[in-house]
Amino acid sequence: MKKILLLLSLSLLTFSCTKKTNDNEILIGSYSSNTGATATFGVFQMHGTEMAIEEINAAGGINGKKIRHINYDNKSDNDETLAVVNRLISQDKVVAILGEATSGRSKIGAQVAQQNKIPMLTSSATNQDVTKIGNYIFRACFIDPFQGMVMAKFMSENLKLKKAAILRDVKNDYSVGLSDVFAEKLKAAGGEIVIDIAYQEGDIDFKSQLTAIKAKKVEAIFIPGYYNEVALIAKQAKELEMKMPLLGGDGWSSPKLYEIAKEAINGNYFSNHYTTESKDPKTINFVKAYKAKYNEDADVMAALAYDAVYLMAEAIKKTKEVTSENIRNELANIKNFHGVTGAMSMDENRDAIKSAVVVQVQGAEYKFITSVNP
């Protein structure tokens, strides 16, 4: 029995070795939440990633080598994330990892990647702490404080309003982070936070918060939450005949926002990573090709994942020998990379420096209003 086990493990070892020794392939792993609570994020991420890899391979690969892509579903689950990232590294022996769309699970994957010194590039995890885990962790998007700054700037400079209310989701790091920065930056710009009030994820009634806000006669309300609650807040604000603009962050970006809130959400603004209205031919092509391939509009998650692949390819292209360490070093040196979500450069914290756009909700569409540079 022991001998059989030994033989088995040996053959397993050789199998896993043969995978690595194929010199004409670059093995890249990715993990995403293809099923479960945040399935829409994961599916968009996977589509964007696959589309970019197919394009690169069709164009001859990177320095003559094709990319081989392994994707695992983490079922929107933290433990499963740990398992699949471990599998990518120890069993599949990938040289680099792409993922994930959410900050929470990216943090988990990042810890494993950092321990094994495998570079990981997350496409849309905006929480500050993700890349602080170590020098092998990168992101292809801006960070939360930047969004708070963008909306404060937009409110004081574009809308020329001064008195704001904040309605924050107290249990959500993302929402709290954005709210704090927004408050700080708005005050610095001469504005004022008249009232700062809280709700919690899963609440359905916000009338008491809104009534309290209404009594303070503010000029705008900043609601950096997720689309689920924001849709109901907008609906109830309209019922209370509150006409001031509502402002938010990229958590608003979902088809569900309009489906639930209907016309109540129209005319309000949020910051996002890109707009499908961009005049950049690269973006136009991407939006068109994505629609043709998957028969759905390219969500921001897909666009960011798509950019992350090209960013990774760019780094790999510059390496003399494809090793994890070399890829890391080249990723850290990326400057003026031009993606479908705009130009970006890596800063010393391994966060992408790029501009944000402010869009206005108009039905199921998001109309481009302005872009704000870092």
Partner: protein, 299 residues
């Protein structure tokens, strides 16, 4: 002052929902002395039944008829589910220790929550607009909306029908009898199982009505939607004195008002804490709640 009236109005509107759901908890406790933790999921299923049937039957446009149909579907379906939950999960355990039934109830609740996520999907759905909401009139600068009045109206009608059934019909008399002396009622020719089923059906139907009212006002439904309302309503039932019908209704209104004042006047972070503070307070100082009395008649 205007702000205060607005909070009061909102609080009473949500309080009547709490009251409807709390009645389900209190009725089941009254008759079986068990806490039906699956009640919040029956509430959720009522909303989903109305959602799917309204779509399927093409009743998802705003009209008074569709609104009434939605309420009836929600009540009927929730009642059915309550009936089957009792028959399949609780009845086989009628003579087992209390703890077994309690744990089964938690199991049923989890089964519905996660089964719902598999079948309906975890993503929230947009509930069809069953009635065109509008401002009916203004009272001291506060707009009175149709949907709020409908919530009051439907709640009071439901409460009226309930108290008629309980206090004026033969079935109601039997319910009260079973809740006081379940060992004696069979001798009087009462079929205990039938009465228990009736209790579950009525309590669940009230939850179904509440679910359709809430979903019409807040058009977002998902398989976990029952959890928060269920917890708060349960607290309302305990606050009013579990087992007491009047207690559940008054507890519901008081909790609704309390939550609105609390959130409206500054302590929005502690909204959830309020229900649990009340629960702890009641358990410590008045375990029977406001109107609970083991000797009083109850169902």
């Amino acid at each position: 002052m205007q702000e205060f009236f607005q909070h009061t109005l909102n609080g009473l509107s949500f309080g009547s929902i709490y009251a409807l759901v709390a009645l389900g908890y209190t009725m089941v406790y009254g008759i079986l002395t068990m806490i039906n933790f699956a009640h919040s999921e029956i509430y959720m299923m009522g909303a989903f039944a109305a959602f799917y049937l309204a779509r399927f039957a093409g009743l998802d446009t705003p009209s008074p008829l569709n609104f009434t149909m939605g309420l009836l579907i929600g009540a009927l379906f929730a009642g059915l589910i309550g009936f089957f939950v009792e028959k399949l999960a609780y009845k086989p355990l009628r003579n087992s220790p209390k703890m077994n039934v309690l744990i089964t109830a938690i199991g049923v609740s989890i089964l519905f929550q996660f089964g719902g996520q598999i079948i309906f999907g975890a993503e929230p759905k947009s509930f069809p607009n069953l009635i065109e909401d509008q401002v009916l009139f203004k009272l001291a600068d506060i707009s009175i909306r149709l949907i709020d009045l409908l919530i009051y109206f439907v709640s009071f009608v439901s409460l009226g029908i309930l108290s008629f059934i309980i206090f004026k019909t033969q079935t109601g008399r039997a319910m009260r009898a079973v809740s006081t002396r379940p060992d004696m009622t069979p001798l009087m020719g009462i079929n205990n199982n039938k009465i228990i089923s009736m209790t579950f059906i009525i309590g669940s139907a009230l939850a179904g009505i509440a679910a359709v009212l809430v979903s019409t006002k807040y058009p977002r439904i998902d398989p976990m939607m029952g959890v928060k309302i269920g917890t708060s309503s349960f607290v309302a039932a305990v606050f009013g004195g579990i087992g007491s019908l009047h207690g559940a209704v008054i507890g519901g209104f008081l909790l609704g008002l309390g939550e609105y004042y609390l959130v409206g006047y500054g302590a929005s972070t502690y909204k959830e804490a309020l229900s649990f503070l009340i629960l702890i307070g009641v358990l410590l100082y008045k375990p029977t709640g406001l109107f609970g009395n083991t000797k009083k008649e109850k169902i």
